[in-house]
Symmetry: C2
Subunit: 337 residues, 2 copies
Amino acid sequence: MKKHQTTIFDIAKELGISKSTVSRALTGHPSVHEQTRDKVLKLANQLEYQRNMFSIGLMKKASHTLGIIVPEFSRSFFPQLIIGAQERAKEAGYNLIISQSDESYETEVSNAQVMLTHQVDGLLISITRETNNFEHLKLFQRKGIPIVFFNRVCDEMIVPKVIVEDQEGAFAAVEHLIARGKRRIAHLSGPESLSICKRRKAGYMTALAKHQVPFDEDLLVHYDLAINKVKIYVNYFLNLKERPDAIFCINDPTAIEAIRLIKETGLRIPEDIAIIGFSNDFVSSLIEPSLTTVEQPIKEMGRTATQLLLDQIDRDVADWKAPTVVLKTKLIVRNSS
Amino acid sequence: MKKHQTTIFDIAKELGISKSTVSRALTGHPSVHEQTRDKVLKLANQLEYQRNMFSIGLMKKASHTLGIIVPEFSRSFFPQLIIGAQERAKEAGYNLIISQSDESYETEVSNAQVMLTHQVDGLLISITRETNNFEHLKLFQRKGIPIVFFNRVCDEMIVPKVIVEDQEGAFAAVEHLIARGKRRIAHLSGPESLSICKRRKAGYMTALAKHQVPFDEDLLVHYDLAINKVKIYVNYFLNLKERPDAIFCINDPTAIEAIRLIKETGLRIPEDIAIIGFSNDFVSSLIEPSLTTVEQPIKEMGRTATQLLLDQIDRDVADWKAPTVVLKTKLIVRNSS
DNA sequence: CTTTACTTTGGGAACGCTCCCAAAGTTGGG
DNA sequence: CCCAACTTTGGGAGCGTTCCCAAAGTAAAG
């Protein structure tokens, strides 16, 4: 079924010149006669010639392809981030191979494998909630392939990272709840292993401390981000002898699920219990009540991470310092608080 | 920065055997001594050897990579579909290069170019709302690279396609509205060029005809799917001298926007005006009122399209008939109708 | 009219792998 | 003990490019 691919040789033969000249004409090398170049370009077009990335990659040892691994794909956060990454990659003439690890460490390792085999020139990655062994990523470093972390980063590796002001955002959210008169503010957090969760928790604690709201450890719960488990923790909160009057959720999907569950019980939001999320997903403005949340510049994060990767690919300097870019967050107040 | 890549030659030299034997050991060729194979495998592992896809691709003329082009990425439909496609691709040992055309014909052409250069073994595509020249896709056929259309298909090309029962779904939706006592049922459709819109419109017409509801052409409007324009058409409907009592929208994002706009006017949904969407996006159950819609098996569509592509890649038969797979739809009744 | 310099071209090696064919080694039946 | 048959290995060609070096052609300068 696969037809013969037009090669520079075909063009050379047809024109009675050498493959070298054709190659030069095609790549825009200066030392080729203008007439020759025109003839080559015209024939190439006519024969629907496509350069073969395999042989070029083999010669140049560069694929002009970047890889991106995200933990999931089903909510809007990562797809949107990928849009940003792809935009920037395309501008720079790079392609993007996308894969999702499905929040599974094993899948992440296998995806990284694939990226390696496909000779990506660099890797963008946000780790799974399970990942705490980074051998598969250190392998990239050993092979000299640049990596950039975004969103969920690995603290023990010295590579560029893009994160947002998690702590400041969480702080603003909790301070806002306090300003609304809430005093028993619960925090439904994610896995303690994720630094993103640590930072948001820190913001929560700082805000409580600043306003002399006593910290009650019954009100702090970590879970594994599996949405169907939100039910367990919301129930737990609601059945405490002293019920919380607000819940600061680790992200929007969690908050949305919490709202759904609480509405079922007949409690009023935000009067009886206020809810705040994190990330300002697309859905958050549409639900009832609309969700107060901390906005983060998602697309921007994708663009920035890609830019950091391109920077690394371009400069071959060994003593290049790995920057950590921190993007701004912003509290969006809606009706759930 | 880029270090020397371990090659089969390095392994061969170290072990004092030939590259051929190493190659055989690595690819699982039967005629190689078990001891030799073990030694090779062990050393390969130790040297962190990775097969070089460029040279393999060059030899085998296959990249084991599929391409997928979708018109947009910001709503949940296409990302979810991609999950399905990627699942199936991975199972079959294929990689997926994803790109979005951003509803722009030009971007679609350029994306197709890139896929070609990157030597994808096959292409999955859902065209933009603008696409009506298919030269860039016919090029794939000429090169012998299989294509499969899904969701938004091209009628003039004879290749496998995956669609859903659009007409039946639309019929069920409109019949449901009639059963609810609605008589002035509007249809906010998409571009007439998309066959998906034609089919849904056909379902709408058939349902009206079956129940002797007269068709009023004032109630049928086509738009270009740019969400910010929904406002124009909703206003148009609301200001008709005889206001519609229901709107069947071409998809969920359109319906959700319509609900938002109608709620602002103070009209009651569904009492004054009922709304139905199409696709059952993730959001649709969360909004207020929750959206009645026609569910389509999104992930399944991704899987099926990929399967059809793999089928084409495997069989080299020229007289292979291009099947059109039609997946089931199902009306989900919620509170907006 | 020769020398120098510059422009344009051709040929070959290399990239890392697979695959084919031949060679070497091993076993066993006559 | 020889030849056939089978197992295991090595060497070389080739995939489609790029890149380097040398060769040829052309123009300018002495």
